[in-house]
């Protein structure tokens, strides 16, 4: 599944992996684009699998003419060895019937590579929030027990809100229905989280409630939130962080308008 693009396979042991879930508004993927583009990460390999819809394009993070014509595929891994950071970018939807297989492949790759922790950037439908979730911050987190052991203090200090469990049938008082986790529009986030709990993988999910539309502000909110924890970009002043928008973020809402339309 992971194929290195370099002469020798990269080492991921003790790295932090940041990856997106293909979810509403593509916020996780946009946030990962910001990370790769700003930190100028270099590609180290591909996730070559039949679980993702194929797509290719030229370098989405091109800065000059020389690196513009580099081919990029639907799932690639980038690293910054000095930050002990690895980033997986997923650019295409998961093939519908292969969602379970994809999660299994991901988890087995994560375990084999020896990542110290995995952070999944995700999103959920804003219109399906319940009353508690309508208030305050739209950001939530989930964390597996094995990662909670090491990160509990950091999370307490950050004051983050854990994703609430909801009753399966609101209003129906039945002693048997346990409140359960639901991430509508979150793609594989929920199932990946549950599988990681079961397999003792140190994993966290960071998500934002949003709707489809111009999701660039949501991506910035999510990536700044992540930065509060991981400190990928550190500037001592209180100014907002400067994330670099990649060159591929153009014409998100279609081509130029025909002049004779008016």
């Amino acid at each position: 599944m992971f194929i290195s693009s370099q002469k020798s396979p990269p080492r991921f042991r003790d790295f932090t992996l940041v990856m997106p879930a293909v979810a509403v508004g593509n916020v996780g993927q946009l946030a990962v684009d910001l990370i790769v583009s700003t930190l100028n990460l270099s590609r180290v390999g591909f996730l070559h699998t039949d679980c993702l819809i194929p797509m290719v394009g030229n370098n989405p993070y091109a800065t000059c003419k020389e690196d513009a014509e580099e081919l990029h595929t639907s799932a690639e891994v980038y690293t910054a060895a000095e930050l002990k950071l690895a980033v997986l970018q997923i650019r295409a939807p998961v093939v519908q019937t292969k969602s379970k297989k994809f999660r299994e492949l991901l988890l087995s790759w994560i375990k084999e590579s020896g990542f110290s922790r995995t952070v999944v950037l995700s999103s959920s439908h804003a219109y399906q929030r319940d009353d508690r979730q309508l208030r305050d911050t739209p950001l939530r987190y989930l964390i597996t027990p094995s990662l909670l052991k090491v990160s509990e203090d950091a999370l307490k200090e950050l004051g983050w809100r854990e994703m609430e469990r909801a009753a399966a049938f609101p209003g129906v008082t039945d002693a048997n229905t346990e409140p359960r986790l639901s991430i509508p529009g979150g793609g594989i986030s929920k199932a990946l989280y549950i599988d990681s709990c079961a397999e003792d993988v140190p994993l966290a999910v960071l998500l934002i409630f949003c709707s489809e539309g111009d999701n660039i502000p949501d991506a910035f909110t999510l990536v700044n939130h992540l930065n509060d924890w991981l400190h990928l970009l550190d500037n001592p002043s209180q100014e907002p962080h400067k994330w670099k928008i990649p060159t591929s973020w153009t014409l998100l809402f279609g081509s130029g308008i025909p002049p004779d339309l008016y």
């Binding site: 979810a23 508004g25 513009a68 580099e70 639907s74 219109y127 529009g185 793609g187 709707s211 014409l251």
Partner: protein, 279 residues
């Protein structure tokens, strides 16, 4: 999502379907699902001669593999390349999905995916594909075909049809600029593409993307020439746009630079009028 009138609409997300609960399946459902999956399998059928040479794990010697995806690309090859009698049909692929018409088990003449090999130079392989290969079949098609080819010094060229409606550009393109070519190539490709590179934020999807991904990952020299056209059906102008893409193949392909009108007429039928509403 609530509208102004108070009714609640279910929203379709461009990113993701509702996450499905994985329900317990009974044996009968699992059996039906398995049969459906098997029906969607991609099957490669080679001629007896080729099957013989592929026995015991051998691969086909191949220096140039040219794949045409779409009606204009396929007919370009039929008109400009395959009209000479120098080509043998050596195999076909049968693939079934929700858009397939007709029965399964088609013969190679009716098949929408046929392989041809040059008689004097059997290391040149051409494939014409006019059927739809679904998203869950594209990877499988690519793996099965490339498993039969030796990768050393292999050069892959893909000709692919696309609609101008899919081409994004800041300056509005009027019809007079269509049809035109854009290219994408793998890191291992050392040649010079014959047209400009595909600009951001445009991408290539479908079978050409699956083939290019495979070649990029396995370090095979490959290039995709995508033809953006504003005509829906097959047309001779779009077909001619592909000519420069094969000029570097020169002798190995023997392109006919100006095919006769008879040949063109044979392959370019006017689009059948399916409805008189829009003539």
């Amino acid at each position: 999502m609530a509208t102004f009138f108070g009714e609640v609409l279910s929203v379709y997300s461009r990113a993701v379907e509702e996450d499905e609960e994985e329900l317990e399946e009974n044996e009968e459902d699992a059996q039906i699902r398995k049969e459906l999956e098997e029906k969607r399998d991609v099957h490669l059928h080679w001629s007896p001669e080729v099957s013989e040479s592929l026995k015991s794990g051998n691969k086909l010697q191949c220096s140039d593999f040219i794949l045409a995806v779409g009606h204009n690309a396929a007919r370009f090859l039929s008109v400009y390349v395959l009209t000479s009698s120098n080509w043998d049909a050596v195999g076909h692929v049968s693939v079934w999905n929700e858009r397939s018409r007709g029965v399964t088990g088609q013969s190679s003449e009716e098949s929408a995916c046929v392989f041809y090999r040059r008689k004097e130079n059997p290391s040149v392989l051409i494939c014409q594909l006019t059927c739809y290969v679904a998203e869950d079949q594209q990877f499988q098609w690519t793996e099965k075909v490339f498993d039969c080819l030796q990768h050393r010094e292999l050069n892959v060229t893909v000709l692919s049809d696309s609609s101008m409606a899919d081409y994004k550009t800041a300056d509005y393109l009027c019809s007079s600029s269509a049809p035109f070519l854009r290219s994408l190539h793998t890191s291992a490709f050392s040649g010079q593409p014959v047209c400009p590179s595909l600009e951001q934020p445009n991408i290539v999807t479908g079978l050409p993307a699956a083939v290019l991904s495979h070649c990029q990952v396995h370090r095979i020299a490959a290039v995709v020439y995508q033809c953006y056209s504003d005509v829906i059906g097959p047309d001779s102008v779009s077909m001619e746009t592909y000519k420069p893409a094969l000029t570097r193949h020169g002798k190995s392909i023997q392109l006919d630079p100006s095919p006769s009108t008879d040949i063109l007429r044979k392959f370019v039928r006017p689009t059948d009028i399916q409805s008189n509403l829009y003539i």
